[in-house]
């Protein structure tokens, strides 16, 4: 539990809490961006360069822009004047605590940590980009292709939804 980890973890948690509880929707989105950047910092602190930069490129550079555009294009008005906490907030906290405990127990009892502890703390394999590329092309090529297919399907679907229908006739009788 080194000092950089503590600082980054605090920043991430604080940003995540702000993303939940701020009134203004765009402020929430920006706080979410900070939380995602905090995650990227955690990856970098673990010497996982590729994953850290990919996290920034994908999440901060693309997903955050997507969220922001969604807010931009679908804003119905100014920030709502309702209460920040919904009525069932007690139950919400209970369920989230339960899920957190379950996840924490699963991680702490997993095989990775046991192997890590046995082999010594500084035996983390240095995964260079070349190794990641090799693994993607040899060991994990099927998941890669399936993901590619999924993304292509999503893109084609989005284009079809956004495309205007060719034979749409409006009220004045002229083809549009």
């Amino acid at each position: 539990m080194s000092l950089p980890f503590i600082i980054i973890a605090f920043v991430t948690l604080f940003a995540a809490a702000a993303a939940m509880s701020l009134r203004n929707l765009v402020h929430c989105a920006l706080a979410l961006v900070v939380a995602l950047a905090g995650l990227a910092a955690l990856y970098l602190q673990l010497d996982a360069e590729f994953v850290g930069f990919a996290q920034i490129l994908v999440y901060v550079g693309a997903v955050a822009i997507l969220i922001v555009f969604a807010i931009l294009l679908t804003r119905s008005g100014d920030s709502p004047n309702q209460a920040v906490l919904t009525p069932g907030w007690g139950w919400g906290i209970f369920i989230s605590m339960f899920v957190f405990t379950a996840l924490g127990w699963a991680v702490l009892n997993s095989g990775v940590l046991r192997a890590q502890g046995a082999a010594g703390s500084s035996a983390a394999p240095a995964a260079t980009v070349k190794d990641i590329g090799k693994a993607l092309m040899e060991q994990y090529v099927l998941p890669l292709e399936v993901i590619g297919l999924l993304l292509t399907a999503a893109m084609i679907g989005a284009v079809i939804i956004a495309l205007k229908e060719p034979s749409q006739i409006d009220n004045s009788g002229r083809k549009s």
């Binding site: 360069e49 590729f50 490129l57 822009i65």
Partner: protein, 417 residues
């Protein structure tokens, strides 16, 4: 004969301490580090490199703003600024001191924040724009052994921090509480994300051929000379197309003419930074120009050989001078383009990105692969012809496709005649 020349050059280099001049900054850094305790070495080393970058590039920015105004003036048959030299004296210096009063003006202007604007986001937007741009200078190799931080995935780092710029554009446009700023910001973001794809795809061709994301390795790959000419990637068919696509996309990424719709004065006043005045505007301006230098630096590293010299008998010129010279030459070309071409409309911009540059970039990737494997199979000479034909053919076809819907001719009216 060739290695006799080589020998003469080597002795000349040793005589004139060329290597020492080349490694001047590296040696200075070692000198300072020797006076510092061991534990502080990483910190001090990083800080020294950062100080060098932060002092050189804003200075280059200041001079380039004056050169741009004078260059545009000469293209437009007029003088540029030619009065201000050294302030408070009569020395004119052909107007190169213009950036001093410009800086003072932007510092002393009143900082107006709209009443309904979101104060925190409005304040943070220029900062969020400037920081990723400055971060991206960390991976560029300015000279031999002169990279601030040589990451394993250096190229990916550059594009990752480039993506954060779009977030700041949105913050600027939305926080101004001005529907025209918001429209300008949406257009700017749409333009930037559309042109990121050809940018990254043309960089991918280089990565494919080199086999590594480290920028230092990419430059080392181009530091090979045959017949006295360096193996820059721009001298190959796929490299030439990749270079041109990269620089066109970098024009769009830095919102420069002919892609400066988001910030042009005749459109939406100034787009997403309409509501900014004084120093915040100066910060946006600074961030835009520094971003332009960084992306040109990356293009030079990827395609134009970074800090290497094009011909083998000019390697005695220090490497950082080559790098800066190339960057400034490309900046001159950008200024030239700015003075020549009219602005593209939003739909023309988008058409160019998605219907022309993206297919051409994809075909370029395939051609780079063909090049690599034909080289491995032994057809060194034939691959030039094959790659050139494929690229030229696809360029002509895509160009025709782009121009097909343009009705260039006398205008006809449906109802008026």
């Amino acid at each position: 004969m060739a290695d006799k020349i080589h020998q003469i050059i080597e002795t000349f280099k040793q005589m004139c301490l060329v290597d020492k001049i080349d490694q001047l900054f590296v040696m200075l850094k070692q000198l300072v580090l020797a006076c510092v305790p061991e534990a502080l070495h990483p910190l001090v080393s990083g800080m020294l490199s950062v100080v060098l970058v932060l002092s050189v590039f804003p200075g280059v920015f200041a001079i380039i703003t004056v050169i741009e105004r004078k260059g545009l003036g000469r293209i437009q048959n007029r003088y540029g600024p030619n009065r201000v030299g050294i302030p408070f004296t009569k020395i004119r210096l052909c107007g190169f001191g213009q950036f001093i009063p410009d800086g003072i003006k932007s510092l002393t202007k009143e900082d107006i924040v709209p009443y309904a604007a979101d104060k925190i986001v409005h304040y943070l937007a220029p900062v969020v724009m400037l920081i990723p741009v400055l971060l991206s200078y960390a991976v560029l190799p300015f000279g031999k052994n002169m990279t601030v931080a040589d990451f394993d995935a250096g190229l990916l780092f550059f594009f990752a921090v480039g993506g954060a710029v779009e977030l700041s554009v949105f913050m600027a446009g939305w926080s101004s509480h001005n529907k025209y700023s918001l429209l300008g910001a949406s257009r700017a973001i749409a333009q930037m994300i559309s042109y990121e794809i050809p940018l990254i795809l043309s960089a991918v061709t280089v990565v494919m051929v080199v086999g590594s994301l480290k920028l230092v390795d990419i430059v080392a790959h181009q530091n090979v000379y045959s017949y006295g000419i360096a193996h820059w990637f721009v001298f190959t068919p796929w490299g030439l197309v990749g270079c041109i696509l990269f620089f066109i996309a970098s024009l769009a990424e830095s919102n420069r003419c002919p892609f400066d719709l988001p910030e042009a004065e005749s459109e939406l006043i100034a787009g997403y930074f309409t509501e900014y005045s004084g120093f915040k505007f100066a910060l946006f301006f600074l961030a835009e120009y520094l971003g332009m230098f960084a992306i040109i630096g990356l293009g030079v590293t990827l395609f134009l050989g970074g800090w290497t010299s094009p011909v083998s008998f000019l390697t005695w010129i220090p490497s950082y001078l080559w790098f800066m010279g190339k960057v400034i030459a490309i900046v001159f070309v950008f200024i030239w383009i700015r003075g020549t071409l009219p602005r593209l409309r939003m739909d023309q911009l988008m058409n160019l990105a998605w219907k022309f540059m993206l297919p051409l970039a994809l075909i370029n990737v395939v051609v780079a692969g063909i090049w690599h494997f034909m080289g491995q199979l032994g057809h060194e000479q034939l691959r030039w012809l094959v790659c050139a034909v494929i690229i030229f053919g696809s360029y002509v076809v895509l160009g025709r496709g782009l121009m097909r819907h343009q009705k260039l001719g006398k205008r006809t009216y449906r109802f008026a005649e």
